[in-house]
Amino acid sequence: MTREEIFSGLNQVFQDVFDDEEIRVAEETTAEDIEDWDSLEHINLIVAVERHFGMKFTMGEVTGMKNVGAMADIIEERV
């Protein structure tokens, strides 16, 4: 899967989870950039990303990801 395909998939998941069609994520996007991305919504997002890409994050990765780029790195490695 290419980096573009991963980000296209991530955009779909983010739009779905945060119920906002306007969301476009980039490498540097963090929770600070998306209004509803708090610690509670974070875990819903993780579960939705796992489902979309058919992979699993380890618990260490769930709490340690710095930005969407780091999330994409892990997806790229697993799928």
Binding site: D19, L40, V47, M59, G60
Partner: protein, 494 residues
């Protein structure tokens, strides 16, 4: 050995003196020896044995779990076994009575057991998740578990943030020592001048209930809010200051929690390391478990996509808040006051958000002004205070009776007719209020500047006048008990 006691100050000063004299490669060993001595002197052999048990179990857990294949069933099973083994002393010392069993160790004081158990449990889980390599040196592992400044009241630390600092050599730094000493002094001011003074009023009203009713309870509860904050955050100032003198930075546990405008924000500012621990090690794994994912699917099918995803979230939060309450003690007043009530606030706050927004639009309220933020702060403080009634009352039943009294007995005249002087002498009220104003000023400044760094660049005479004034205030206005030892910190009993 209380952190405010003269014996602790002597012990700490001698340890710090030796720390900077011996070769740096031995510094961490000195800290380990000092930690074990501190724990033995504070709790005796029996309590030290519980600590050593925790160290041995989690050391072995790290070595074992590191070798097991990631994601295998065996790893899950072994992690579960080691988690249970780590929790056994906590269960025997704190929760056995809650489950209707008789306590096997009587009234043995579980000094700091809730704090260090969380830290070492976090280490086991981190190794199991593959975040950390296991510590191979048992003595280094023991220092992480037993590091004496943080042992009795936290903060709850993570191995990843501590390991590099604990075992590294630390050169003598005048700046670190000066900053550490200033922070200790500020902690003493909070504990001895404010907390201990307010405690006199709080204890009188709460211990003699139902002698004092209505607004007496309101005043005592507000006093308790400030007593608890200055006690716990003052303790953290001393702990972080002591650790800073050893060149080791501990995580902050408070960032002006009474400035919070919502309950969620309050928990991001109050006892930060506890909330973060439960979020990372309980709430996230729960939400990511197969059971909760199946629950999410069912819920979405049953209630629709948007509402359906909330139900597992609220259930997970219920378990989280129950655990936070339970952590404070195995009794329902803690479970309700520090747990379930806050869950109710957060969930009902979310559910009523659309209604609230409509009301704000209807009344054309400007939400971007100070007055609205002030109202939000007062509302949060009020809600937090309701929880404190449960926290401070001896039982759930008494707490409910006190809340009923606050609603039923309307006697606000006591605020103006001198009745409050039955709780504290007038000069103590003046001192308490004046000290709280200083605390408010410092808290406001903390939001904008780094106070100690700003002070450090001021002229010598100004700086030292300020330090000596604070020192004199602690000496003259501090409330000391027998042998000049203040009462133990409230959170020390957890």
């Amino acid at each position: 050995m209380a952190l405010t006691s003269f014996s602790f100050l002597c012990f700490f000063t001698i340890t710090a003196g030796i720390y900077y004299v011996i070769p740096r490669r031995f510094q961490w060993m000195l800290l380990l020896a000092a930690s074990l001595v501190f724990y033995y002197v504070s709790g005796g052999w029996a309590v030290l044995c519980f600590l050593l048990y925790g160290i041995v179990i989690t050391y072995l857990a790290g070595l074992t779990l590191e070798r097991v294949k990631e994601g295998s069933k065996r790893k899950g099973l072994l992690t579960g076994i080691f988690v249970i083994l780590t929790l056994i002393p906590l269960f025997l010392l704190k929760y056995v009575r809650f489950f209707g069993l008789s306590a096997p160790f009587g009234a043995l004081a579980p000094l700091g057991i809730s704090f260090y158990t969380m830290s070492i449990l976090g280490y086991v889980i981190d190794v199991s998740w593959g975040i950390l390599p296991a510590q191979r040196n048992p003595f280094r592992h023991a220092l992480f578990a037993a590091y004496f400044p943080q042992m009795t009241s936290g903060p709850i630390t993570r191995y990843s943030q501590m390991a590099g600092q604990l075992f590294a050599p630390h050169a003598f730094s005048y700046e670190q020592i000066a900053f550490g000493a200033q922070r200790i002094l500020w902690g003493f001011f909070k504990k001895l001048v404010i907390s201990e003074r307010l405690a006199m009023a709080v204890n009188l009203v709460y211990d003699q209930y139902p002698v004092y009713q209505g607004w007496y309870l309101v005043v005592a509860t507000v006093c308790f809010a400030f007593q608890l904050y200055t006690d716990f955050s003052g303790c953290m100032d001393i702990v972080l200051g002591v650790s800073q003198i050893f060149g080791i930075s501990l995580p902050e546990n408070f960032t002006c929690p009474y400035f919070s405008r919502s309950i969620s924000e309050y928990w991001r500012r109050w006892h930060i390391t506890l909330g973060a621990w439960f979020k990372d090690y309980l709430f996230y794994p729960l939400q990511k478990s197969g059971l909760f994912i199946a629950y999410l699917d069912w819920s979405k099918k049953r209630f629709g996509k948007k509402r359906g995803k909330k139900l597992p979230l609220y259930t997970g939060m219920l378990i989280l808040w129950f655990s936070v309450g339970m952590w404070h003690g195995g009794s329902w007043n803690f479970i309700v006051g520090s747990g379930l009530l806050h869950w109710f606030y957060i969930v009902s706050g979310e559910l009523f958000t659309p209604l609230w927004k409509r009301l704000i639009a209807l009344l054309r309220i400007n939400t971007e002004v100070f007055s609205w933020h002030f109202f939000q702060g007062l509302r949060t403080f009020f809600l937090v205070n309701l929880g404190f009634v449960f926290f401070r009352a001896p039982s759930l039943r008494t707490a409910l009776s006190m809340l009923a009294s606050m609603g039923r007995v309307f006697n606000p005249r006591i605020l103006f007719d001198g009745s409050l002087c039955r709780l504290l002498k007038p000069q103590d009220w003046v001192l308490a209020i004046f000290s709280l104003l200083i605390l408010l000023l410092v808290s406001v400044l903390q939001q904008r500047i780094r106070i100690r760094e700003t002070l450090a660049v001021q002229n010598l005479a100004f700086r030292w006048s300020l330090y000596l004034l604070l020192f004199a205030a602690v000496l003259i206005f501090g409330c000391y008990g027998g042998d000049y030892d203040a009462a133990a910190f409230i959170y020390q009993r957890f």
